[in-house]
């Protein structure tokens, strides 16, 4: 068992180590590349930045303390003198009581590792800051072996590396594959056959570029990339914890979609989400944007300690911000100073202090009354109408006015509830407010005189509700005092700290009042070493399946090194140069030859680069959960193009259970097109997320998630074979095949195949589909009742003149097409 693992580790190290650009002596040790990973792996847990955990007064993550005299009188590191350095003595000792790391921690350093450290000390024991904390440097794209290959700078970096490895890149993929790939990537939907025909017919040199521009301009773009942000934002339509009561914050999700579609520059996008409320003259949209950090969970269980959950929300905001924008596991410093990266616990609570100044308190409040997207004017008019109707109603129902008094006198008391009669028996001035209100309410609902005004009011109200909603927002209050929470426990208070940012990163001008807005500005300051890198890495990850830094959530010393460091930095600086224009950057990537390559892989390349980190071929990964579903609905002709609005309830089998202490966990299926909306509009209950999404690896969204792990399981097969959503899609696809596919079985099978896979079947593939249809049809013809069920449940009755047996057999074919590996993957 150990052998293959070592082989894998060796392969990966070989793949990931990049030769330095300038030629150094062959035995030169590079601290960042060669030494830091060793220290991080073997030493820093006890000899790192965390003073609490430090042993023997020795700190090795920084040069100055590492060279100091130890309490023993020795020095761990004496530059240029490995023989005098206790570090070398200890890692090579035969005496278990002296050996480092201590034998109880598995893993003695290998002789190669010892040799590296020995040479490093001999060469002067030079340290350098971890690359992630140094501002990216833009380097010129290198010259490559085949100058005709690169379409842009990205390709030069990629090909340069392939040249070094002696690997030839793959040929460009065929047009159909490319169109499907880029359409899925940019919009989360497959191309239509019409789009495919148009692209195939367009021989002009900029045909592809125009397709890309068109895709970036579609509203579906914002929905596709919005889904990525819902994971980052841990978005949910419920509050979490035991009751998991509903939450109304979907208007934030709609803001997100419009912001992405409007291509709000990433720096502005950041400012609005983190601190839109603090922007001078903040607009309603900018305040809605702050819902990003109101997606934290609340515990409404009786007797909960409100402060505990408020504290947890602030912790979550700090961790999420540092994850999403800085790609660091800053959260480690919540309980103790970081063991590997230079973040102290005090620094953690300095950032905490910045977020510890909002009004929310384990509560949904504060919220904002807002309009649905684009309906603000109507909301204002309708709200005014409601106010008028309300006034008219109130005027008529005041129990001091004569009309009410006359109602009192004329009413038939024998028909009233005793409670109401009792109140009427009191003279008006003896009634409590509560009693008057009760009488008013009763009067309103029963009096014929009032019914017109009542109806008027109700209709105005429901008109308003069609364009109005509320949404959770951040609201600044004077900062609460922030203490270091010892061991991360909110009740164990240590020293008071003031707002601040981690010292290892860029600094803020000393006179700045460090609130959320200043903090957000600090994040998008071009001096910040991480923000742009982390953002471009995320885009890369979405397009290629793996980021240039594989550990998207950790760029620090425990993360994986970038596969193409110069490319990462070039993209980061390019993003800033483009004014944080996300669509432009995406365009640049999908316009690269790298992206255009065929994903076909040879055995040799598969063995050599199984993860496709070198990018000698195009991306080929299973589609995300949302796309799996949206694509099925799209090819079935069922997908609703409707944008925005309250969460919807697609088909889902009944569970028959209630939430603990709560209401039923089942929902009524949304009617009409709301039953077939894109996946990101599905109501997201944190305690019971939509089943098929989870099965396809969506996170439950209690905490921020930067990278979904793709699995391949039998439960996924059950979903796409049998989930009524997919059965319905198969029926829809079957009907389209019958309707649009010509008259022969061959032409129909071909049409279905093209709809699903955006390409024509090979003769071999066609033969199998045809025979599937013929055999299914023969079998179903013997049992017409089954055929009717298979063709209509749950999609509904067939159009007249359609033979149910035909429709059912095409449903079988549709079901097969929706389950092909090629359908579920981007290739």
């Amino acid at each position: 068992m150990p052998l293959p693992i070592r082989i894998v580790a060796f392969l990966m190290l070989t793949l990931l180590s990049t030769a330095p650009a300038n030629a150094a002596p062959p035995d030169a040790v590079d601290f960042a590349r060669d030494v830091r990973p060793l220290l991080s792996k073997h030493c820093l847990q006890c000899h790192g930045p965390d003073a609490q955990a430090r042993k023997g007064d020795l700190r090795l993550d920084d040069r100055e303390p590492a060279l100091l005299e130890l309490p023993t009188g020795n020095r761990a590191i004496v530059p240029e003198h490995p023989a005098d350095s206790e570090l070398i003595d200890r890692i090579t000792s035969d005496d278990d009581s002296r050996l480092m790391p201590p034998p109880k921690f598995a893993g003695r350093l290998t002789s190669a590792e010892v040799e590296t450290l020995r040479r490093w000390i001999a060469q002067g024991a030079h340290y350098s800051k971890h690359w992630a904390y140094v501002k990216p440097v833009r380097v010129m794209p290198p010259a490559v072996s085949n100058p005709a290959w690169p379409a842009n700078e990205i390709d030069q970096f990629i090909l340069y590396r392939l040249d070094e490895e002696g690997i030839t890149p793959s040929p460009v993929a065929d047009r159909e594959t490319l169109l499907r790939r880029v359409t899925l990537d940019l919009t989360g939907l497959p191309p239509t056959l019409e789009e495919l025909r148009r692209f195939n017919a367009d021989t002009s040199p900029d045909a592809y570029e125009r397709v890309v521009d068109a895709l970036l301009g579609k509203a579906a773009y914002g929905e596709r990339w919005g889904a990525v942000w819902l994971d980052l934002a841990r978005y949910g339509d419920s509050q979490g914890y035991i009751h998991d009561p509903p939450r109304t914050i979907w208007r934030w999700r709609d803001w997100l979609i419009t912001a992405l579609n409007n291509n709000l520059p990433y720096d502005q996008f950041t400012l609005e989400m983190l601190a839109g409320d603090l922007l001078p003259g903040a607009t309603t949209d900018q305040r809605i944007a702050t819902g990003f950090h109101r997606n934290t969970t609340n515990n409404t269980e009786g007797g909960s300690n409100v402060e505990e959950y408020r504290h947890a929300s602030v912790v979550d905001r700090v961790n999420t911000t540092m994850q999403v924008w800085q790609g660091t596991t800053f959260g480690c410093a919540q309980c103790h100073s970081h063991k590997y990266d230079p973040f102290s616990q005090t620094e953690y609570y300095q950032v905490f202090a910045i977020f510890n100044a909002t009004e929310d308190n384990n509560s949904e409040a504060p919220t904002l009354d807002v309009a649905h997207v684009g309906r603000e004017e109507e909301r204002v008019t309708r709200a005014a109408r409601v106010a008028v109707a309300k006034a008219r109603l109130d005027e008529q129902t005041k129990f001091t006015d004569s009309q009410s008094a006359s109602w009192e006198q004329g009413v038939d008391r024998s028909k009233l509830a005793k409670e109401i009669v009792d109140i009427l028996d009191l003279s008006a001035d003896k009634r409590t407010k509560e009693q008057t209100d009760k009488l008013t309410a009763h009067h309103r609902t029963t009096s014929a005189d009032l019914s017109a005004r009542q109806a008027e009011f109700q209709s105005a109200q429901s008109e308003l509700e069609r364009v109005a909603t509320t949404t959770l927002v951040m609201k600044e209050i004077p900062a609460r005092p922030t203490h270091v929470a010892i061991r991360g426990e909110f009740q164990t208070k240590g020293d008071v700290v003031q707002p601040g940012v981690p010292a290892i990163l860029n600094s803020v001008p000393s006179e700045t009042k460090l609130d959320r807005l200043a903090f957000a500005r600090w994040l998008v300051d071009p001096e910040n070493p991480l923000t742009a890198r982390v953002a471009v890495n995320r885009l890369w990850q979405e397009l290629f399946g793996v980021g240039l830094v594989e550990s998207a959530e950790e760029f620090g010393s425990q993360g994986s090194p970038p596969s193409h460091p110069e490319l990462l930095d070039w993209l980061a600086t390019e993003y800033i140069r483009l004014g944080w224009d996300t669509k432009q950057l995406l365009k640049k990537i999908v316009m690269s030859t790298t992206y255009w390559q065929s994903s076909r892989v040879t055995d040799e390349l598969q063995t050599r680069d199984p993860q496709n980190r070198l990018l000698a071929r195009g991306p080929r990964v299973r589609l995300p959960a949302e796309t799996v579903r949206d694509q099925a609905l799209a090819v079935a002709g069922l997908l609703s193009p409707k944008l925005y609005g309250p969460p919807v309830h697609p088909l889902q089998p009944k569970n028959g259970l209630s939430a603990a202490f709560g209401a039923s966990t089942d929902w009524e299926t949304s009617l009409g097109e709301d039953g077939h909306r894109r996946a990101l509009y599905t109501r997201w209950r944190r305690n019971l997320p939509y089943a098929s999404m989870i099965t396809f690896d969506a996170p439950e969204r209690s905490v921020c998630n930067l990278r979904r792990i793709r699995t391949n399981t039998p439960l996924q097969a059950l979903v796409t074979m049998n989930d009524p959503v997919y059965v319905e899609a198969a029926q829809g696809l079957g009907r389209r095949i019958l309707n649009e596919g010509g008259e022969t079985v061959e032409s129909r099978a071909t049409h279905g195949f093209q709809l699903a896979l955006s390409r024509s079947p090979s003769p071999d593939e066609l033969k199998r589909l045809v025979s599937l249809f013929v055999l299914s049809r023969a079998s179903l013809a013997r049992e017409p009742a089954k055929a009717v069920a298979l063709a209509t449940k749950p999609l509904g009755p067939l159009p007249a003149q359609v033979d149910p047996v035909d429709a059912a057999a095409w449903t079988v074919v549709g079901n097969v097409l929706l389950n092909l590996d090629e359908f579920l993957a981007k290739r």
């Binding site: 894998v8 792990i709 090629e822």
Partner: protein, 484 residues
């Protein structure tokens, strides 16, 4: 066993496991077979839950976790306190309650002795109340822990702590997914972690109680349902018979193979294997869920009825599942929150009534396992998320119904089988049952012990997420040596 190139996908998530000696064996190996998207669709890819070697010799192979959601009153079931009975109605000493939070009680509550009759049973002389007559009969097979405590006094957090290791919904894996991550499953047609819910409601921790958190979703508990498909989407669409499904599957596989050969992508082979397992599950699961072929006397023992939705049925199903090699079976039974706010939450007759639905099947399950020789290799765990207070709940103190508040400071649980010392009682509380006085056990210790019995070291069963190695027991937990 593994070819380097079969690890492509897994490398994506676990590279750092490989490079780190500490968690090497387990993290790497477990994922290797589960995330296999490899080129060689050999035996590994065919069996996604392939069994794996534990860290150490295991005493137990499987776990049946009986999660009594709501917090059953240990003081009325197992922890007998004659002194508390004597002092019923007296004020609870301030020294005990001061500075401690209770969910629904403030001020000075009144002590409340149990209204249940207690007796000692078996050679072990374990105290059990009259509400649990059948469990009392098997007292000599049980290992009681009377010194259990938790940190949380509310249902949601307490149950999350118990099942996921931390008291927050924070995307942490549940205990069952940790176990299947560590050990895989011995049945190639069934998931390794199966969950049943009874009592009409989801548990307080929601689906997080069997979620996979940051572990790959393949480790999530599969909830078997009592109505409709036993596993979500198990049935073929209406009108599609098995022959037609088989035919479709053959065409899916054929087309996938053509494509796989064309593009050379190894994941295609894995996909074919997963579809075949799904097909087998479609037959295996309903067969397993059908208890009508169980002998009548056994159905009678459990109080199970074919076709019914009950905890009793779930207990019988749990036995059938461990018999088939399913690693972790979790039964969540809602309805143990006896505050006394209404008649059905009264710890007198109504507690006895409620226990009838639980006592008999639990006892039958343990006897049944023992008779089949399965108890040695199966660990049965019975517990709620916290205990109940020795005093009357604040809101209902003057009411007609007797009830108790949530109590994190003391609780009783029992386990059976799995290599534990049977017929023993471990730990104790003070004379009022308020605080633990002897051999304290925290829920993290229970988690560590369950893993230990399965041959897993809770310190080494780790998974790297967001740059940190996480484990079920957070940074706590020690194995309860005294009951091994």
């Amino acid at each position: 066993m593994f070819k380097a190139n079969s690890l492509n996908h897994l490398a994506q998530v676990t590279r750092r496991h490989f490079l780190q000696d500490g968690s090497l064996g387990l993290g790497g190996l477990a994922l290797a077979s589960l995330l296999n998207d490899g080129a060689n669709a050999g035996p590994v890819a065919e069996v996604p839950f392939a069994p794996r070697q534990p860290h150490a010799t295991a005493k137990a192979k499987n776990v049946i976790f009986l999660s009594m959601s709501g917090g059953p009153s240990h003081l009325d079931l197992f922890d007998y306190k004659p002194e508390l009975v004597k002092r019923t109605g007296e004020e609870c000493p301030k020294s005990l309650t001061d500075g401690k939070p209770f969910a629904f009680t403030s001020g000075t509550p009144k002590l409340l002795g149990t209204p249940q009759k207690f007796q000692q049973f078996g050679n072990s002389g374990a105290w059990v109340s009259a509400a649990m007559p059948k469990v009392a009969e098997i007292a000599d097979d049980l290992t009681f822990i009377k010194s259990l405590s938790t940190d949380q006094f509310n249902h949601g957090p307490a149950e999350l702590l118990l099942l996921t290791g931390i008291p927050r919904t924070a995307g942490r894996p549940s205990i069952g997914s940790w176990v299947t991550y560590g050990l895989g499953s011995e049945n190639r047609d069934l998931p390794g972690f199966i969950v049943f819910v009874s009592g009409g409601a989801l548990p307080s921790s929601g689906k997080a109680g069997w979620g996979s958190g940051f572990l790959p979703s393949v480790y999530q508990g599969v909830q078997c349902r009592t109505g409709g498909d036993p596993v979500l989407y198990l049935s073929d669409p209406e009108g599609m018979d098995r022959a037609l499904r088989r035919l479709s599957l053959d065409v899916i596989n054929d087309l996938n193979r053509i494509q796989g050969a064309e593009l050379g992508n190894p994941e295609t082979a894995t996909r074919i294997a997963q579809y075949e397992m799904a097909f087998r599950m479609q037959t295996a699961v309903p067969e397993l869920m059908d208890i009508s072929n169980e002998p009548l006397h056994l159905l009678e023992d459990y109080g199970a009825q074919p076709g019914a939705a009950s905890f009793a049925n779930n207990c019988l199903l749990a036995r059938r599942l461990v018999e088939k090699g399913v690693r972790f079976v979790q039964l969540s039974d809602w309805g143990w929150d006896f505050h006394g706010t209404q008649a059905k939450e009264d710890i007198r007759e109504n507690l006895v009534e409620r226990c009838k639905l639980m006592d008999r099947p639990v006892a039958a399950l343990i006897r049944d396992l023992k008779q089949r020789g399965l108890l040695d290799e199966t660990l049965v765990v019975w517990m709620g998320e916290f205990g109940r207070t020795p005093f009357r709940e604040g809101r209902t103190a003057g009411g007609a119904h007797l009830g108790r508040d949530h109590h994190p400071l003391s609780n009783t649980m029992f386990m059976a089988g799995g290599g534990l010392k049977p017929g023993m009682t471990y730990g104790a509380t003070d004379e009022l049952g308020f605080n633990v006085t002897e051999n304290p056990v925290h829920v993290h210790d229970v988690q560590a012990t369950i893993l230990h019995l399965l041959g897993l070291d809770h310190l080494r069963l780790t998974y790297r997420f967001q740059g940190r190695d996480y484990r079920l027991t957070d940074v706590f937990g020690k194995v309860i040596e005294g009951i091994l």
